[in-house]
């Protein structure tokens, strides 16, 4: 706890290291075979999603099994607002905020009725919400094209440059994810983050020390959903095709898997979790149809060996920051 502000040299070192890593990545990764870059893009998108879900599940202790709904809302906002669907062609940057906003609003709207629910009942209601959203996307054909999906989505433009290769998206995603993680971390250790933790540990006692649990929970739902929305918009921009298949209940479970396997509530763990859960299935590709079988085995083994997640909670961002010598 008692950390004194780091020395100037320490900070310089930290900055240098981070800058070096980021620069290195932005220089090296695009040099990799495009397939790897695409995989890394996917990992980053799932890091965004997981960081979002983690706010609700990891910080506030509210189990949400329908998180994919917000991902879908984000993706469909870009698909509808930047394609021939209604011949609307808004700029990517704008839709990024619209999509995030819409998802955030949806998050709050979902939050209001479920405030009283806890644990698995909450889980099931959110599951239901997720399915409802997916089914709506599948049924509201006039808006979403139903199962046919929205194709020929505009190529995203950012600062006048077109984003069409996975490399471009990596250059967009890396800083975005870093910012998101930083903010999530600052949020975690902010007073609101502590409030969430208190609600997670003992909601009644949390009220007893004057925490307005209603506001705190709605903020958790809203903020996490917003992140999900961002991820969705970027996904739609990368795929340039969106259909309901991509937002099944299975996706929600994958995101829950990521945060649990990484280490619930630990941002470092989340990054590792996302990497593992996206890369492992890719590594198993050569086994073609045996792939999912092996994937299932891998899941069970990992969970049995490390039920509290791959990354121990003491290796959290604070530890990272100390190691870097920032403070």
């Amino acid at each position: 706890m008692r950390r004194q502000a780091g020395t100037r040299t320490g900070r310089l070192r930290a900055v240098a290291i981070v800058a070096l890593v980021v620069a290195g990545l932005t220089y090296l990764v695009p040099g990799l075979p495009t397939y790897y870059v695409r995989v890394i893009d996917m990992v980053l998108i799932y890091v965004l999603l997981a960081a979002g879900l983690n706010m609700v599940v990891g910080y506030a202790g509210l189990l949400d099994l329908g998180f994919v709904a917000f991902y879908a809302i984000g993706a469909y906002s870009y698909a509808i607002l930047a394609s021939g669907q209604f011949d609307i062609h808004l700029p990517f940057a704008l839709v990024l905020f619209i999509g995030g906003g819409l998802a955030g609003i949806a998050g709050v709207l979902l939050g209001i009725p479920v405030l009283r629910l806890r644990g698995d009942y909450l889980a099931i209601v959110t599951l239901g919400f997720g399915e409802i959203v997916r089914l709506l996307m599948n049924n509201l054909t006039w808006m979403t094209n139903g199962p046919q999906g929205v194709s020929r989505i505009d190529e995203p433009f950012l600062f006048g440059a077109g984003l069409n290769t996975p490399q471009d998206f990596f250059r967009l995603l890396l800083p975005l994810v870093l910012v998101a993680l930083t903010l999530a971390w600052r949020l975690e250790r902010s007073i609101l983050g502590l409030g969430w933790a208190a609600i997670r540990e003992d909601q009644d006692a949390a009220r007893g020390i004057g925490i307005n649990t209603t506001i705190a929970k709605l903020l958790a739902f809203g903020l996490s959903a917003t992140l999900g929305g961002f991820a969705g918009v970027i996904f739609a921009g990368l795929q340039r095709f969106v259909d309901p298949v991509s937002f099944s209940f299975w996706e929600s479970l994958t995101i829950v898997l990521i945060i649990v396997i990484g280490g619930l509530g630990n941002l470092v763990g989340i990054v590792v979790g996302a990497a593992v859960l996206i890369v492992v299935p890719e590594l198993l590709r050569e086994y073609s149809e045996y792939r999912m079988l092996l994937y299932g085995c891998a899941l069970v083994v990992i969970i049995l060996l490390r039920p509290r997640g791959l990354i121990d909670r003491r290796y959290n961002p604070a530890w990272l920051i100390r190691k870097l010598g920032w403070r």
Binding site: R186, I191, D204, A206, R207, G208, G265
Partner: protein, 284 residues
Amino acid sequence: MTLRLEALTKRFGALLAIDRLSLTFKPGMITSVIGPNGAGKSTLINMCAGSYKVSSGRILLDDVELQELKKHQIAQRGVARTYQNIRLFDGMSVIQNLEVCLFPELFGKTFAEVFVPGLSHRMKEERLARCQAALDQFGLLPYADEFAADLSYGNQKLLEIARATMLRPNVLMLDEPAAGLNHGEKHRLKQKLRELLRPDLTMIVVEHDMSLVMTLSDHIIVLHQGKLLFEGTPAEVQNNIAVQEAYLGSPGELDEIREAARARANRVRIRADAGIERRRPGTN
């Protein structure tokens, strides 16, 4: 501040836990609430804290009607409490248990805290400084970074009181603070409560340990079946037949009262220990 109850009533279905109770708790003194099991002591605290809804009657903090308010609003009005079986935030560190109490005060600044560079750390340090002071006051500073659940039972009790004091309370309600404490711990507790008492603080203690009650309290309220049986100074209470009857059904010596109380205290200790067992953070 003064806490006044007016014709306060609480029903659980058919059971009448508190029956048209009117009382006044004055600031600057320690008021103990005693009475046999089921007299409605904890119910009283739970209503004042907003954990239970009031069936009828009013709870007035000076002239604010608490029964109208939500639980967190009551807490924000400076009504702090501890729980009969400890309710700490087990998965959080000891210091975080106090830090989070600044939520009502600092929540408005969250946005700035998250987005303004550097501010996050500065605010954190300020908070920690305040909490460390509070911890130090209760001699818990050495445990600052441990999990609340890993503290000894006595220290958990202290931490809970420390947490309550973090709210800068006007009313401090302690539900069986001594239950399960050994002799030395009780002694320290007594001193601590004395230190905490400020002229503007109304301290309410629900306790079974008669020796503690008699030596600690300035004023004692005896409840029986949800009604006020008697109130007065410790001396007056000790010499009151009605009180003894309430406890033992027949007139008896005060030692017997003490005996009964100690026996219960032990039971509580056992239950509470089981409680801790149950609340080890079995989580990530």
